[in-house]
């Protein structure tokens, strides 16, 4: 793929992101940040590629470290977001539960 194609993804994703995120209410800003944070762990894909294909020991070691860090980010991020979101309840839910 060319640089320009990649740039196309970047620019379009930026607009999509802007449109969606501005609609998210302040109530959910912490879960949003935490959830977005988990998504940024997508760098795990890059880590897997370099850890798997590293031609030198150093590259493999760096890849391994990157896999560990990115996995912590992904797994921890989604779990924390989930437990946060579980706590958001409306008055109706609460009455239903009582």
């Amino acid at each position: 793929m060319t640089f320009v194609q990649n740039l196309t993804f970047f620019v379009l994703a930026a607009f999509v992101g802007y449109e969606i995120i501005t609609k998210i209410p302040t109530n959910l800003h912490t879960p949003l940040m935490s959830g977005a944070n988990a998504i940024s762990g997508i760098t795990l894909i890059g880590s897997v590629v370099v850890a798997g294909s590293g031609s030198t020991t150093l590259a493999t070691a760096l890849g391994f470290l990157a896999v560990v860090m990115a996995t912590v980010n992904v797994v921890g991020g989604y779990l924390v977001t989930n437990s946060m979101l579980e706590q958001f309840r409306s008055g109706d839910d609460r009455r239903g539960r009582d």
Binding site: N27, I39, L65, V80, L85
Partner: protein, 479 residues
Amino acid sequence: MAAILGGLPAPALAFVYLVAGVLFIQGLRDMTHPRTAPRGNLISAGGMALAVGVTVLVTDILSPILLFAGLLVGGAVGVWLATTVETTEMPQLVGLFNGFGGGASALVAGAELIDMFGTGSFQIGVTATAALAGIIGSVTFWGSVVAAGKLHGVVDDSAVRYSGEQAVKALFLIAAVLAGAHLVTRPNLLGAVPLAGWVPSYWVLVAAASILGVLLVVPIGGADMPVVIALLNSYSGLAAATTGFVLDNSVLIIAGTLVGASGLILTVIMCESMNRSLANVFFGGLGETSESDEEMEDIYEGNITTTSPEEVEMTLDVADRVVIVPGYGMAVAQAQHAVAELAELLEGEGVDVEFGIHPVAGRMPGHMNVLLAEADVPYEKLRDLEEINPTFSQTDVVIVIGANDVVNPSANDAGSGPLAGMPVLNVGEARTVIVNKRSLSPGFSGVPNPLFAQDNTNMLFGDGKEMMQELVNIYKENH
């Protein structure tokens, strides 16, 4: 492993990445309502599992044991951190996770460079984006570590300012950029002279950017942390996106950019809520106390009315509408459960109770909302600044708990104080204001709060949790 899907053609892989990208976007779309948000998080996690899973399957993995060991260790640490965290420690954990993502991006770019230089081919597009990923990733990692340290109380959370501060930061930024320039130009200019196998100029860049990351966050005080955390969140996304450019990977670019946009929007919202520019948060001198102690005494002298939980209970007894305004002090005292119980008791007696939440109350965007959600306060009760401000004039009692600057009326006066122009909650318009605080000490801005001296304000001095609990007990006895 590679044998399973090893023959998967590039278009098929790109298609799977597209599906993952769509799942991330749908996941974020579901975040627009608390009811759909948990589903959104699952969809997003599904996208992640799909993208990572297919990558593991199609990549020619030379050392699968090492890879799975890495996934296992990282997964175990992630589960452990996420399940053992206290709600009060949430901001620093989110900050720390953030840093890990950024750090991983910087390492990936480094490893990819080593691989590429090993093969003897130098693509300027790759070296340039790798340099960018290295700088952003390293700043994100170290900045997040310092921010998490400040939030956790292991690093001094006051605004540490020193002379020549901006020059020192500029120096390390220049060093990082120069190392990056060397990385990009040298193989091309002097193609015959390869760099050492471990690409030293990249690691010089990482070292300089790491120090820069530390220096950027150390001077920022606790109350500005929502801005810092949001900005670092944006950076971790940008680091992933630039890594996507390095590796020519579409889903990295899409997902990273979504996160970058999200963090940036939150950053802008936080800055606007303080009426300060991003540059001012990072380089400005807030925290230099502009008013002397004597001036503070002048304002408060003889004008402070103190109250007791018993008196507050009597005031609440005749109230029809009560608004509770929480601040960081509520988080520190862990008073959210007592506050929620009080709100529920009042509602049980037919009182209309709402919560007024300032966007920068707390240490991360939406901090108060999460704490109150944890204490089972329904989200319909949580009102933001624009919604709650017009209602204060029809409110009988406002209870301010552990908030200061965000309810300081001097922000509304035309002037040049540190708070001038900051949107605040105009609680003083209510019939009675109860302020629960430990003392009269100023907030982060360092300016005195004329609200405390107002005729309709009563100060309830003491620990937030104790006072609210006492109030709850007295209220229960009398009803």
